[in-house]
């Protein structure tokens, strides 16, 4: 099952002082297990551009699609058996504590 994992900021991060998981180790571990297919950090929202087509006209505008305090700062493409495994991958990502992670399974086009 493929999941798109969005790495997002959060205005209320965890205050736990225990040592933070290391992102390099997280990538190496999940890559080795074959459950992380791709992923990358993204440039800040200030570099975002939104594109729409309405009535045949292309509308390009400055900024992200939604003006929120939380923003997507990276993504990872996962291959997991089920949501439980995906949550396992997500919970060990450092941004699970400093921000939040959204897991979106690929749509079943069966």
């Amino acid at each position: 099952m493929k999941y798109m994992m969005f790495v997002c900021t959060d205005t209320e991060p965890d205050t736990d002082q225990s040592p933070e998981p290391d992102i390099e180790a997280w990538v190496a571990d999940n890559d080795a297990r074959g459950r992380r297919l791709d992923g990358h950090e993204l440039a800040p929202v200030s570099a975002a551009t939104t594109v729409r087509v309405r009535a045949g006209e292309v509308l390009v505008s400055d900024g992200p699609f939604a003006e929120t305090k939380e923003m997507i700062v990276g993504f990872d493409l996962l291959e997991c058996a089920d949501l439980a495994e995906a949550v396992e991958v997500a919970r060990t990502h450092p941004m699970a504590r400093n921000g939040r992670i959204e897991l979106r399974p690929f749509a079943d086009l069966g």
């Binding site: 440039a43 800040p44 200030s46 570099a47 975002a48 551009t49 006209e57 292309v58 509308l59 390009v60 505008s61 400055d62 900024g63």
Partner: protein, 415 residues
């Protein structure tokens, strides 16, 4: 330019040299900045070098004389400056090589040379890219293409200079971070992007034309429209927009009274209109074969510009062009103006009927000009008391002092 004035106070010859420097700098600014951005990719460096070239000209021309080719001289100085800065920063050799290949003599490139033409167009299309916020596009155009000082732009936008500096820096970062290409779109993409560029020019013009605006911005918009017209032939909306600017600009002396208040079209002294500008607009419009939204607006303006008086205006022609504009580019304001035109062409009842239609969507609620139009049509129908009340209500809704005084004057005349 303050430097030019300061020099002029003492020596006439020095003043002439300073003026020549200011003129040459203004005329070649876009070209210098555009070329240096293409080669170095550094917007701030390009602007600084263009500025430095002007400073050098102001320092050296009064004593050494104005060079035979002022634009070429400025380009050479700016290029040398960029080379120095990059060399000191010990950056990529490729950029330095390209700079070295750039106009090695002080001769200006021949007029119409492809690469130079491209650079200015590239700069215009990049500054007007829709992935930048609209205000940022206008500000960046003024700063980078026109070379207007940041402080002047900040004043027009009613923000502090540091806020405007941040806004410009953010826009330049976005261009770099999002990799907005330094390129003129071609084929269908050009048709898609051109309206956005013309929209920025239009906004720039209105920023100069509106009450309380910076009059110099209207001149800059006209200069840019002329530049686009020369660089992108075969795009009918460009001469159409330039013609529209010229018709509106032709009234600049007549549209304010001694107190600085706005004089409506029907009360302007038409002898004070700039008839050379009108003639140029008519010639441009005469060559437009395919009418887009700007051509239709220009045709409306041309009917007014060629009428000897309000009474002599060909109102059925104005109404007809508004019908075409309302079909092509419908908007509440176009619907309002169409109603006014029909009112003059076919009587106040016809105008009031179309006005009611235009208002039915609610988009004109609270819009003082809609109330003013209703007041004017009502007055011409003969209902003076109701018209006076409507003018007073319109006055309450406007935020512009000059407009409010004009509306209250109309109310007083009817009471």
């Amino acid at each position: 330019m303050a430097d030019a004035r300061a020099a002029g106070a003492t020596h006439p010859a020095a003043a002439a040299a300073a003026r020549a420097a200011a003129t040459a700098a203004r005329d070649s600014h876009a070209q210098i900045v555009a070329t240096l951005i293409r080669v170095t990719g550094d917007w701030t460096l390009a602007e600084d070098c263009a500025q430095e070239a002007l400073v050098q000209a102001l320092r050296r021309w009064p004593a050494g004389g104005v060079p035979a080719n002022p634009a070429g001289w400025l380009m050479a100085v700016a290029r040398n400056r960029a080379t120095d800065v990059l060399r000191r920063a010990a950056v990529e050799r490729r950029k330095l090589r390209e700079l070295a290949a750039l106009a090695p003599t002080e001769e200006a490139p021949p007029a119409g040379e492809e690469e130079v033409v491209d650079d200015r167009l590239r700069l215009i299309f990049t500054c007007c890219h829709p992935a930048l916020a609209l205000d940022a596009r206008v500000a960046l155009t003024l700063r980078t293409i026109c070379g207007i000082p940041t402080a002047d732009i900040a004043r027009a936008f009613l923000v502090t200079e540091s806020t405007m500096t941040r806004r410009l820096t953010r826009a330049k970062s976005k261009i770099a971070d999002a990799r907005i290409p330094y390129r003129v779109p071609s084929g269908p993409a050009l048709a898609e992007r051109l309206p956005g560029v013309l929209g920025v020019l239009y906004l720039l013009f209105t920023r100069g034309y509106d009450a309380g605006g910076e009059p110099a911005f209207a001149d800059e918009a006209i200069r840019l429209a002329r530049l686009l017209e020369s660089l992108l032939p075969g795009q009918p909306e460009i001469p159409a927009l330039l013609a529209l600017f010229l018709f509106q600009h032709s009234r600049r002396e007549a549209r304010r009274d001694a107190a600085g208040d706005l004089v409506p079209l029907d009360r302007q002294d038409r002898r004070r209109w700039d008839h050379a500008a009108i003639a140029e607009g008519l010639a441009l419009l005469g060559r437009v074969r395919e009418d887009g939204p700007y051509a239709l607006q220009a045709r409306i303006a041309s009917v007014h510009a060629t009428a000897a008086s309000v009474e002599a205006t060909d109102w059925p022609a104005v109404a007809g062009w508004y019908d075409a504009l309302a079909a092509r580019a419908p908007s509440p304001v176009v619907a309002l103006n169409r109603a006014v035109a029909h009112g003059y062409a076919y009587g106040p009842e016809a105008g009031l009927a179309l006005l009611a239609e235009a208002r039915s969507g609610g988009a004109l609620d609270g819009y003082s000009l809609a109330l003013a139009a209703e007041a004017d049509l009502t007055a011409r129908r003969g209902d003076r008391a109701r018209a006076a009340a409507l003018f007073r209500r319109a006055a309450e809704q406007t935020h512009a002092d000059a407009e409010r005084r004009a509306l209250l004057d109309r109310a007083a005349e009817l009471s």
